[in-house]
C-alpha cells in the first residue's frame, strides 16, 4: 500500500494538533515525520510516529517547550531542550550553529535535555541546505552492550556528516552505531526477513542475522564490533561533558527514551572555497566512486545520501509505501 505525501503529512498534523501542538508546530513536526518516510527512512517516519504520540499522551514530552540558550562563549553555546519536541528543538539548535559558523567559521550548539530528534540526517541536510558542512550526533537510551560486556550499557548514538552540493543532492551519512538500527531490525522482522550480515547475539550468545532472535536478547552488535563500541562511548562522553545533562546511563533510568544530549556543529566551508570549487571536488569524487567495477553484475556504487534522493523522487511520484498496521494505528489516533 502506498500513501501520497500530502495525505500522510496531513494525518500526522491532525494527530499532533489533537495532542496540543500549535498549528505552526504541528505543521513543521508533521513535515519531519512525512519527509523521513518520503526519503525511505520509514523507521523514523510513519513507523516511529505512534511512539511519539505515546510520549505525548503519557506527558513525557511537552509540545509547548522550546529550547533556550543557557550559556554562550564565542562559537559554542549550551542549550536546554526542556524535554520539548525533539525535532523542532534540534532544528533550532542547528539553525543557531549555522549562524555561529557564519560569524566564526564554525559553530557548535550542545543541546541537553532534548527529546528524540528522530533522524539525524534531517539536521545534516538542514546544514547542507544552508551551505554548511554539518556534523551532529545524539546519545540514546542504553541499547547495546559495551564491547566485552553482556548488559545494555551504551547507546547506538547516531552520527551525521554532511557536505553541501549546489543541486541539493547533498552527500550525507547518517548512521546509528549499532550495525543495524532498532528501526531496521523491527522493519526486517515485520517483513519476515533476515538481516544481510550479523546484527547481534541470540540467546545462546552466538552471532545471528535473525531480527527476532536479536530482539529476545537486545544484545545488538556495534558497527565494527569494538570500534563502534568505543566511538559510542566517546560520543556520549563528549555530549554529556558539553551539556552537563544526561548520559546514556542516566537516560536508562528514565524508563522512556527522553532527555537526550545532542551536539550540532556547522562549518562554513565557503569562508575558504566557493560552492563551485566544492561542487567540483564532490563531483570528481563521486565520478571516481562510480567508476568502480561492481561486485555484482549490474550493481551500482552509490554515494552516501544518493539512495534517499532516488527514493524521495519515486515516493513523491508514486506514493510512500506503508506498513498497513502502522498506518491504521495512526488513523485511529
Amino acid at each position: 500500500m502506498r500513501i501520497f505525501y500530502d495525505e500522510m503529512k496531513n494525518e500526522f498534523k491532525r494527530v499532533l494538533i489533537s495532542r496540543g501542538f500549535s498549528e505552526e508546530n504541528a505543521d513543521a513536526g508533521a513535515a519531519v515525520f512525512a519527509n523521513n518516510s518520503l526519503d525511505g527512512i520509514y523507521s523514523h517516519g510513519l513507523n516511529r510516529f505512534p511512539k511519539i504520540v505515546e510520549y505525548l499522551d503519557i506527558k513525557k514530552m511537552n509540545p509547548e517547550a522550546v529550547a533556550t540558550c543557557e550559556m554562550s562563549m564565542g562559537a559554542i553555546e549550551k542549550w536546554d531542550g526542556h524535554q520539548g519536541f525533539g525535532p523542532l528543538n534540534a532544528k533550532l539548535a542547528m539553525d543557531r550553529a549555522c549562524e555561529l559558523a557564519k560569524e566564526y567559521g564554525i559553530g557548535l550548539v550542545a543541546l541537553g535535555n532534548n527529546n528524540h530528534w528522530l533522524r539525524g540526517g534531517t539536521y545534516g541536510r538542514q546544514a547542507a541546505d544552508a551551505g554548511y558542512i554539518g556534523i551532529c550526533w545524539s546519545n540514546t537510551m542504553p541499547n547495546m552492550p559495551a564491547w566485552g560486556g553482556t548488559e545494555r550499557k551504551i547507546g547506538n548514538n547516531p552520527i551525521v556528516f554532511s557536505v553541501p552540493k549546489s543541486d541539493g543532492n547533498h552527500v550525507i551519512v547518517d548512521c546509528a552505531l549499532s550495525q543495524f538500527s532498532y528501526g531496521k531490525i523491527e522493519e526486517t522482522k515485520l517483513k519476515g526477513q533476515q538481516l544481510p550480515v550479523h546484527g547481534g547475539y541470540n540467546e545462546a550468545g552466538e552471532l545471528t542475522t535473525d531480527p527476532a532472535e536479536i530482539e529476545k536478547t537486545w544484545r545488538v552488535l556495534p558497527m565494527g564490533y569494538w570500534k563502534g563500541s568505543g566511538i559510542s562511548i566517546l560520543l556520549d562522553l563528549m555530549a554529556t561533558t558539553l551539556t552537563n545533562a544526561h548520559s546514556v546511563q542516566k537516560i536508562g533510568t528514565f524508563k522512556e527514551e527522553v532527555g537526550l544530549s545532542q551536539i550540532l556543529i556547522a562549518i562554513d566551508v565557503k569562508k575558504f572555497h566557493s560552492q563551485e570549487q566544492i561542487d567540483a571536488i564532490t563531483e570528481e569524487m563521486i565520478a571516481d566512486l562510480k567508476s568502480s567495477t561492481p561486485i555484482t553484475e549490474g550493481g551500482e556504487i552509490r554515494y552516501p545520501g544518493e539512495r534517499e534522493f532516488a527514493t524521495r523522487k519515486d515516493n513523491l511520484e508514486n506514493g510512500i509505501p506503508v506498513v498497513l498496521e502502522k498506518w491504521e494505528e495512526v488513523k485511529g489516533f
Copy 2:
C-alpha cells in the same frame, strides 16, 4: 625481544639526524615513534619507521618543511603542510586548534598537503593533555573498495575523539575505518595468526580472517560494512573541501602515501564546566561500563584508551616488545 624506551628513541633519533633532521626535530620525531610503540601501537611505531626513512630517502618528504597558515577566518584556519614531516606538522596544527578553542570555544585547522601523521591518537591525547576535547581525522591513500565496488577507491581515514581526564588517562578512541588497520593486518601476518573477525576478502571474493589472503586482494573490509564506507567518503570529502588539497583519489596518483588532508578540532569544554565536573561525569560513565557482566569469565570491560595506558606502564618497566626483523632493519640504517 624487548627494547627499553630510551634505547629505541635514541636509535630513531640517530637515523633521523642522519637523514637531515635538526637535533630538535629529530628528538621530537623520534619521541612520536617511540611513544607509539610504548603505547603498544607497534604498527605506528617501530614497524612503520622504515617506511618513513624510505620516504625521506626518495625525497617524498622534506625534513625542513614546516606547515604554514594560508587562510584564517575566526575560529577556522587553512594550513599547508608543504609535504613536511607529518607528525610535527599535525602537532603544530593541533596546538593552533587549541589556541583557537581558547579564544572562541572551538577551533578547527584544516591541514592540507601534509604527510602521514602516523597515529591519530597522538593528537587526540595532545588536545586532552591541554584540557580540550579533541576531534581529528586524516585521509589516506585509496586502500579499501567503496561498498559494492571492487577496486580500492576509498581510504581507511582514521578518526579520533578524546575527552580529558585530570589524571592524564584520557578517554581516547583512535580508529581507522577499515575493520583492521594495515598495520594490524601486517602484524597479525608476521605473527602467523588469524584476525579475530572477518577483515576482508580472499581471491574468491569471500570474507576471510586470514591476513595473508587479504593482502593478496587488498580488498579490506570497512568497519561496519557500508557504514564505514560511507563515513570514509564523508571524512575525505570534508577534509578535501576544507583544505582544497588532495583527496584520497588524488593521493592514489602519487604512488606513495604523501600529501594527505587532515582536520584538527579542539573544543574548550571548560568554558562551560570545570575539570572536576568533567571528571565526575567520566568516572561515573567508566564505573557503569565496568559494572557489566563480562561475556568471558574473568574478562574485563575497558574504556577506550585504557589498554594503551596499561601497556605503556608495562612497556616502560619491562621494555617494548619488538619484531626482531624490524628492529635490525632500523639499526642497519
